[in-house]
């Protein structure tokens, strides 16, 4: 580490530099529109939900588990929130704790099945996620439900600080919390030992099972938070929304693990990864490219970014 401080710093902040380079490039091409504060506030404000989903994923990922159900937790929570709020007129102060508890419960179920039956988390969460999708369709009668109280939208995207919708700050707050948890608490260390060396963790006295369970519950709660914010962002809930966030969130989680703290899933890396990808998409749209170019960029940038990061680090073998 010591001897190659420069390379290491380059590796840590490589993605950040690439991001800045992209901003410079798009900025040079359309300085009047791309390089405006309003454009950036749009970029920052728009992907808060994706950031939160990604943050939710990295907790079980650190503990060595996949949570594929998080997207469906989002959708179910979003639907539940909309139904309770718009159809049944339950006040938001009740709805929010209720749906957070729902998220936690689902996390608990994921964890309990994975742990008690010793099944790979991939298949458990895939199954639970599909089941949740069924419930979402059921309770929402496959409809998009709108008419959510303006209060929720007010506190998600209408209110702004420095021009950026408040949802962005929620996401940043969560990133800070998770960063603190992973770096400065015993639980964070236990997560790490659980994920990378389950036996080792157990031998050093980590209650591996409980840690994994907690990770699932936390990701369930994060999914629920994302669901609430999603409802607030769109003012409605539709039964397929979350589905499309899953792969981008995984991409961001893995891409994020190449920077800031290379080799470990980390919240700031994830945040940078999300906004790096979003900036690219936004820039292409501002420049008027056709939409398929977004896919080319997204896929290409993802692969190139990890390739470059690996080149910088001397193609180190990573455990992850």
């Amino acid at each position: 580490m010591r001897q190659s401080d420069l390379t290491y710093q380059l590796e840590r902040f490589g993605l950040l530099f690439v991001w800045l380079a992209f901003i410079a490039l798009f900025g040079a091409m359309r300085p009047d529109t791309f390089l405006t504060w309003s454009n950036f506030s749009t970029i920052f404000g728009s992907e808060a939900v994706l950031v939160i989903v990604t943050l939710g994923l990295i907790i079980p990922l650190t503990a060595g588990d996949f949570d594929l159900s998080i997207a469906q937790v989002l959708t179910l929570v979003s639907m539940t929130t909309a139904i309770l709020d718009a159809r049944l007129d339950v006040p938001l102060v009740l709805v929010i704790p209720l749906v957070l508890a729902l998220g936690a419960l689902i996390g608990l179920i994921n964890g309990a099945i994975t742990l008690y039956f010793r099944v790979h988390s991939l298949i458990v969460t895939l199954g639970v996620g599909t089941f949740l999708h069924g419930i979402t369709l059921w309770i929402g009668n496959s409809q998009t439900i709108s008419g959510v109280s303006p209060m929720l939208m007010e506190w998600v995207i209408i209110q702004r600080f420095w021009g950026i919708p408040i949802a962005f700050y929620y996401a940043m707050l969560l990133a800070v919390l998770i960063w603190y948890m992973l770096s400065y608490t015993a639980f964070g260390q236990q997560l790490l030992f659980t994920g990378r060396g389950r036996e080792v963790g157990r031998l050093t006295g980590v209650a591996v099972g409980r840690v994994r369970l907690a990770a699932f519950v936390l990701s369930g709660i994060m999914g629920a938070i994302a669901g609430i914010l999603y409802t607030g962002t769109t003012g409605s809930a539709n039964p397929s929304s979350g589905t499309f966030l899953l792969l981008p969130a995984f991409a961001a989680a893995f891409l994020g693990a190449t920077c800031i703290k290379p080799g470990r899933f980390n919240p700031w890396g994830s945040v940078i990864a999300v906004y790096f990808l979003v900036t690219g998409i936004n820039g292409l749209s501002v420049l008027g490219f056709r939409t398929f170019v977004q896919d080319l960029f997204y896929g290409g940038a993802l692969v190139l970014a990890v390739m470059v990061s690996q080149l910088v680090s001397g193609r180190k073998e990573r455990g992850l």
Partner: protein
């Protein structure tokens, strides 16, 4: 204490008492139940029956993971329990539930504390080093220091505590064993009790006060070290007498079968050496001397910086050599890191043993492979249920015999051994020596890198002692004794021209 795994009775009514301030040896053949007993103490396994009292107070079993510390128990497990990807500091504080504030880890203070601790034990480690980058010895030291620290911490809570070391020494060269013993004695003087597992009888005799011997999950007896001798213990462990005499056949003069020239690697510098057919060549040295690099480089496991190998008339470029080429040249390599490099634990014995002889097979006859494995297991006395078992279900010693069988079935002309008896009991050790000797008898040559001088005395025709990547001494014939090897290793001044 009783514990059964499936059909295996790992512990059968074992009773054991440890006094404060004693070093208590725990001996037994591979698979006799030592690690299992320890894992029950740490809460890793739940016992079927049995009770535990600490300081006269009964403790409910199974102990929740992480609670053992509160009772003053600290462990160095057989595979150390370190996370390789994490830093020294992260490993050092892992599981330190008693002391750490769970809500806020003060990394700066912890790093300071770690520096002091490492300095105290005279370890040349930095808290931010990654464990994967450490040498095996440093890792072992780290694990021991961690456990010692925990026990000492515990003294602030009253009772002095128990330190449990499950085979900490195979990783350590002699000088560090001495250091470890010094640490143990210091702890002992402060009233800490120590449970010490080792297959090395001399170590046991040197450091313990009493020893308990396990055989097949039963406690055979407890012996006072002062009034016991080597033979008694060996007899108790193995259940029969074992001779550990030098057993080297005389070699007829012949041309070398393998000649290595100007071999350089990470540590090695321009080393040249050769072996003759039927010869067992020992390589040894202190940590970092580079002797253990030789088998790695010759087998293609790691590519050399420079060097050539002339094997039975063919020349191999060691900078380009891949394992497949080495196998094609009939070189066999039995690595030290069994769990990672020797066997695939999830796969069956058949799959593990037969992989090298499949070639490009396009129609595998599973029945034949199975029979061949059963045959191999019999020949190498691998104790197991059946060839379809997962390799993880074997004890370490049996795994090692399986690995040996896997390679020796190929009839190699050059056998490379790296710490071949690490963690292997006295009885199994003899069997392994027999098998190696057989390979020699068929005209092969053996290069064995090890830090166990006694082993070299027993089997080696010739020993090369390394220092800083170069050969510093060569011992042959009757000079190959434990004492002279040790002398060559530790005396810096002597210079010999090798070859």
């Amino acid at each position: 204490m009783t514990k059964t795994f499936g059909g295996v009775q790992a512990l059968n009514n074992v009773a054991l008492s440890i006094q404060p301030g004693e070093v208590h040896g725990l001996l037994g053949t591979n698979g006799s139940g030592k690690s299992t007993l320890i894992k029950v103490l740490s809460g890793f396994h739940a016992p079927d029956a049995g009770s535990l009292e600490i300081d006269g107070r009964p403790v409910t079993l199974p102990m929740p993971l992480g609670r053992s510390e509160a009772h003053g128990l600290a462990f160095v497990h057989q595979n150390l329990g370190l996370l390789y990807e994490a830093s020294v500091l992260e490993n050092l504080i892992a599981g330190d539930h008693e002391r750490l504030n769970p809500w806020r880890i003060n990394w700066r203070a912890e790093a300071e504390r770690a520096r002091v601790l490492l300095a105290e034990y005279e370890l040349d480690l930095m808290p931010d080093q990654i464990v994967a980058d450490l040498s095996p010895v440093q890792r072992a030291q780290l694990a021991i220091v961690r456990a010692a620290d925990r026990v000492r911490e515990h003294r602030h809570y009253g009772a002095p505590g128990v330190l449990v070391l499950d085979e900490p020494t195979p990783f350590l060269p002699e000088e560090d064993v001495a250091k470890l013993f010094a640490i143990m004695r210091r702890l002992k003087e402060s009233g800490v009790a120590i449970i010490f597992v080792s297959h090395d009888i001399d170590e046991v005799l040197e450091v313990t006060d009493r020893s308990t011997v396990l055989r097949d999950g039963k406690a055979i007896g407890t012996y006072y070290t002062a009034s016991t001798d080597r033979e008694t213990l060996v007899h108790a462990i193995v259940g029969r007498a074992v001779s550990v005499d030098r057993r080297v056949s005389t070699l007829s003069e012949s041309r070398p079968i393998a000649t290595i020239t100007r071999l350089s690697g990470k540590i090695l510098r321009d080393v040249s050496l050769s072996v003759r057919p039927g010869e067992i060549l020992g390589l040894t040295g202190l940590i970092g001397s580079g002797h253990d690099e030789v088998p790695m480089l010759l087998s293609g496991a790691v590519q050399a910086v420079s060097g050539d190998l002339m094997l039975d008339g063919c020349s191999l470029d060691l900078t380009q050599l891949r394992p497949a080429d080495a196998i094609a040249a009939r070189i066999a390599f039995i690595p030290a890191d069994r769990q990672r490099l020797g066997i695939a634990p999830e796969l069956t014995l058949t799959e593990n043993a037969m992989l090298p002889i499949l070639g490009h097979g396009a129609w595998l006859n599973h029945e034949k492979l199975r029979r061949a494995t059963a045959e191999l297991m019999k020949r190498f006395t691998v104790k197991a249920d059946n060839p379809g078992q997962a390799a993880s279900e074997l004890s370490g010693g049996n795994q090692q015999k399986l690995v040996l069988g896997k390679w020796l079935q190929l009839g190699p002309q050059l056998v490379l051994l790296d710490e071949p008896t690490q963690g292997i009991d006295v009885g199994a050790r003899q069997e392994i020596y027999d098998r190696v000797a057989e390979a020699c008898a068929r005209g092969g040559a053996v290069i064995c890198a090890t830090s166990e001088f006694e082993q070299l005395e027993t089997i080696a025709h010739r020993v090369l002692v390394f220092e800083r990547g170069r050969i510093k001494a060569e011992l042959k014939g009757d000079d190959v004794t434990k004492a002279s090897i040790a002398q060559a290793c530790y005396e810096g001044a002597q210079t010999h021209a090798a070859e």
